[in-house]
């Protein structure tokens, strides 16, 4: 009992001192079977905000998207009935670098680059096209130095930037339960 009491004191003393990014807030709202996420206070140095969901509180998270850092909202529509969805938003820092060396092939583009980063959590392969916002084309393992990116016939010419990323502190987890159908 004494150990438990000490633990509780330690936990209370530690509240707010680590874990969550101060001021980074995430809220979910439910209309019918659609969830809208809204957040504020995301770190200003984030290159992308990674939105994820899980259907267990401590479950495996699945990536829903990589959003530009100025986005404040995300919609997750037409969700499974009678299911609880847990959400978090994780800022990714990713210093810009040089474009990958590109060798076009029939249905893909072969990209290579030097791994100049240490301790990255992975690489974001960023696609940049004239007049369009940059987007994440591929999410790659750490220490990756080449990738054959599949292309669609409609894909326009682009430049690809391998950006080593690190995960920042995620937002608090929020959840919504979808009503039965």
């Amino acid at each position: 009992m004494r150990i438990l009491f000490v633990c509780l004191l330690l936990l209370l003393a530690g509240c707010g001192s680590s874990g969550q990014q101060p001021g980074f807030q995430l809220q979910a709202s439910l209309v019918a079977d659609d969830v809208t996420l809204r957040w504020s206070g995301a770190p200003a140095d984030a290159a992308y905000l990674m939105v994820e969901y899980a259907t267990e509180e401590n479950g495996e998270y699945t990536i829903l998207g990589f959003l530009p850092p100025d986005r404040r909202e995300f919609q997750h529509p037409d969700l499974m009935p009678a299911t609880t969805f847990y959400y978090r938003v994780t800022p990714l820092t990713a210093p810009p670098g040089e474009p990958a060396v590109a060798r076009p092939r029939a249905n893909e583009i072969q990209l290579t680059w030097a791994d100049t980063s240490a301790d990255e959590d992975g690489y974001l392969l960023e696609r940049r096209r004239t007049g369009q916002p940059a987007e994440v084309a591929a999410y790659l393992d750490p220490n990756t130095t080449s990738f054959n990116l599949p292309l669609l016939p409609t894909d326009k010419p682009a430049t690809y930037y391998p950006r080593p990323f690190r995960r920042g502190t995620p937002s608090p987890v929020t959840h919504e339960t979808i009503p039965p159908a």
Binding site: C7, G59, L79, P81
Partner: protein, 195 residues
């Protein structure tokens, strides 16, 4: 201090939180079960655990690396699994099938096209291009004789009516009539429920 705090957190949470955690699925009454399966390696198909490969670019013949699960013919069945395409220079590869054993064959076939577009073979786009390298979660809910629903990352993306009969689930990688490898796909979190 950090270790102590973590340990204490676990102690406290252990007193108030249930330890069992199961994925929440469509409305209640589901029972988790583990149907038997066989592995099918044909042509240049290779299976290593939950990694499924087509190693050739052959655009003809039977090229498959799949798990074929036990047949069912009544009730409602749910499949859940996540896939991550780790390399793909081919196109139009089936990843998940609900196969109509007593009918005309692959009643529902979820396939991926070059670039990440998910589509139903013989039908429309099911989901737009997933970012290459990310994990995609698939749930299919099949009410035999009524309806078959497909959820991608939790969102309902496809609904079709279902005849009665005998069906089974398959997943892995399989060259469709218009497709060709190579592809390597990693599956995880495969679960089944019934009611």
């Amino acid at each position: 201090m950090k270790i102590l705090r973590t340990l204490c957190t676990a102690v406290v949470l252990g007193l108030v939180a249930p330890t069992a955690a199961h994925a929440q699925v469509e409305p209640g009454g589901w029972t988790s079960y583990s149907p038997s399966f066989t592995e099918q390696e044909r042509g240049c198909g290779q299976i290593d655990g939950l990694t499924f490969r087509l190693t050739c670019s052959t655009s003809s013949g039977d090229q498959r690396a799949e798990r074929r699960y036990a047949t069912y013919s009544s009730g409602t069945r749910q499949f859940e699994g996540s896939f991550r395409i780790t390399s793909m220079t081919g196109s139009r590869i089936s990843l998940k099938q609900t196969f109509n054993e007593s009918g005309s064959g692959p009643y529902f076939m979820l396939a991926v096209e070059n670039g990440g577009r998910l589509y139903r073979v013989g039908g429309d786009t099911i989901a737009g291009g997933a970012t290459v390298g990310t994990t995609v979660r698939v749930n299919t809910v099949h009410q035999v004789g009524s309806q078959h629903r497909t959820y991608i990352n939790g969102s309902l993306k496809h609904t079709m009516s279902s005849p009665g009969g005998s069906f089974y689930d398959k997943f892995g990688s399989y060259r469709t009539d218009s497709g060709a490898g190579p592809i390597q796909v990693q599956w995880s979190g495969v679960q089944f429920w019934r009611k």
